[in-house]
Amino acid sequence: MKILLDAFSPSWVERCALLVLIALLLGALAAPLISPQNPYDLAQLSLSDGRLPPGSAASAGQGVQRYWLGSDDQGRDMLSAILYGLRISLLVGLSSTLLALAFGLSLGLMAGYFGGRLDSLIMRLADIQLSFPAILIALILLAVLGQGVGKIVTALFAVQWAYYARTTRSAALVERRKDYIEAARLLGLSTPRILFRHLLPNCLPPLIVVAALQVAAAISLEATLSFLGIGLPITEPSLGLLIANGFQYLLAGNYWISFFPGIALVLLIVAINLVADRLRDIINPRLQKQ
């Protein structure tokens, strides 16, 4: 932790971003332990506490004493809902990114290393994918697949892999011409070994940055889809769905239902982006102190 903070020491903005990100991650992880109520358990909700402003006291003594961030139309504690929503948003964002990373990276490595027809095939596929707006593809896929966490992860995976394939390929094209790859071939090392032990680690720095940025993009795309009502079911509200939920009450003056989930989403995405930028500098071994 100390080392991590030191690595972020040159800029206080990035340091704050790191701390915010860690806090959000911990909050999401520990949501069942620290949140005043389980927002998914309808038995714990009280409809009579609907749309209470921040700081209101709860009517009946069922777990929640006070709605620090207010409550939504169904009497859900917003703080609890945000913590659980963060959990889902992060789960969806991270898992879809990891899947897309593994897939796109493998394709990109092969395209860059082998070149020729395989390269053309993979890259044309990526071109086709990238030529459609991500949200359009996700909309179509979700329309076909239906709702659910697994389905939205699939949709996000489908719109993301091409970024990794492209980034990996361009890095691999540069690296494979370097002498150490030729040396590895002359030393009789197997192709998978050259690909994953020699080529891959040297293609990673740009990828890690892209991946970190893509987590943020995936989360915001998921929020958009949920906002549009085709992402996750209302029983498992993510941040996007929470925002959508409060949207209709915004003009009635009940700002908190949309506002606090929105703040959480913005904090999360900005923090990830800032940390990703710093990560790019740290990850370069040539900049490390000896």
Binding site: A183, L186, G188, P285
Partner: protein, 344 residues
């Protein structure tokens, strides 16, 4: 034509009439234009043009030439790092002489492992994310030449042999100086117990004082391990110092080859003469430079006949059309110049 075998030693590696052509395929528009009768053809570079070279066991053959002459490509053809466009490589091992590229895959891999390379850029030739100890011991572990238990002792011994402190194995390449990286590159090549090493400008990037250290190391290792080198360099001084035999390349062809003493005492080809005239002599002091004229032609459009004729002070009419093969003009001394041994 006989391959120019000027060594008395038994051959280890033999290149016969080996060529490498690089061509850029035409794109769709150009192909269309060609169909319609436009005078467009794919651009082809004859990087190496029917070169024969025999390297004897234990011999150091120096390959010298200017940029774009194809010397690096020839080194990579010898290693099989580039597939040859035509021609054959022969390897003389325990089982007699064999054409390497006709061997079954497992045998070919075994022969290939006997041939390694030391690169020019000591940094680009090392994987920046592997500790140097890992980089050196990876291949012998994979090939079962050493076991994991032997690894540390083996590595310490090898690092010591190339003049590095064995404790440095845990470091990354960027933590070393240029001279140390050159030694690491040599250790990695030696790790699989090769018999033949191509040194591609292996000392050119180093400062003079460091260069001398590494040259000494190469010579020492040759004696200790009975190695054979193809030593590629643009630096005639280095070539003269290390080589037993020298081959001079110009635009994809070997124009002259002979033993080192012979070629420096009696250079025959006008190009060799021009190169040797540029050889530094410290004793001479302020001297008059008498430069050879003209630029090095583009390998895309080499001159007809003898490639050197536009720059040659002795060029005759025939030189523009006649590209003569190497012929033996004195014992073990081969030249392709028309003036040597009478042109007809």
């Amino acid at each position: 034509m006989l391959p120019p075998d000027s060594s008395r030693r038994p051959a280890l590696l033999e290149l016969r009439q080996i060529s490498k052509r690089f061509s850029r395929p035409l794109d769709l528009a150009a192909r269309l234009a060609q169909k319609l009768g436009a005078a467009i053809s794919a651009q082809t570079v004859h990087a190496v043009d029917r070169v024969s070279l025999t390297i004897g066991r234990g011999e150091i053959v120096g390959l010298v030439g200017e940029s774009g002459c194809g010397k690096s490509t020839l080194g990579r053809l010898a290693l099989g790092s580039y597939p040859a466009s035509s021609g054959q490589r022969y390897w003389r091992g325990e089982g007699g002489t064999t054409a390497i590229d006709d061997l079954p895959a497992t045998q070919r891999r075994a022969v290939q492992l006997k041939m390694q390379m030391v690169f020019q850029d000591p940094y680009a030739s090392l994987n920046p994310r592997l500790r140097v100890g890992q980089a050196i011991s990876e291949a012998p572990l994979v090939h079962g030449l050493i076991t994991a238990q032997q690894r540390d002792a083996w590595l310490a011994q090898l690092l010591h042999k190339v003049g590095l402190d064995p404790s440095l194995g845990e470091r990354y390449p960027h933590q070393f100086s240029g001279g140390q990286r050159a030694r690491i590159g040599i250790a990695r090549a030696l790790a699989v117990a090769p018999e033949f090493i191509v040194c591609d400008e292996a000392v050119s990037a180093l400062d003079v004082s460091i260069q001398a250290q590494v040259i000494n190391l190469f010579m020492q290792l040759r004696d200790d391990l009975d190695l054979t080198y193809l030593f590629i360099s643009h630096d005639l001084g280095v070539i003269r110092h290390v080589s037993d035999r020298v081959a001079v390349m110009y635009l994809g062809r070997i124009v002259e080859s002979a033993s080192t003493d012979e070629i420096f005492a009696h250079p025959h080809h006008p190009y060799t003469q021009a190169l040797i005239a540029e050889l530094p002599v410290i004793g001479g002091h302020r001297r008059d430079y008498q430069a050879i004229r003209g630029e090095i032609p583009s390998p895309l459009h080499p001159p007809s006949g003898c490639h050197f004729h536009p720059r040659c002070p002795y060029a005759m009419a025939q030189c523009q059309t006649l590209a003569r093969e190497l012929r033996e003009i004195a014992p073990q001394h081969w030249s392709s110049c028309i003036l040597d041994g009478g042109g007809e």
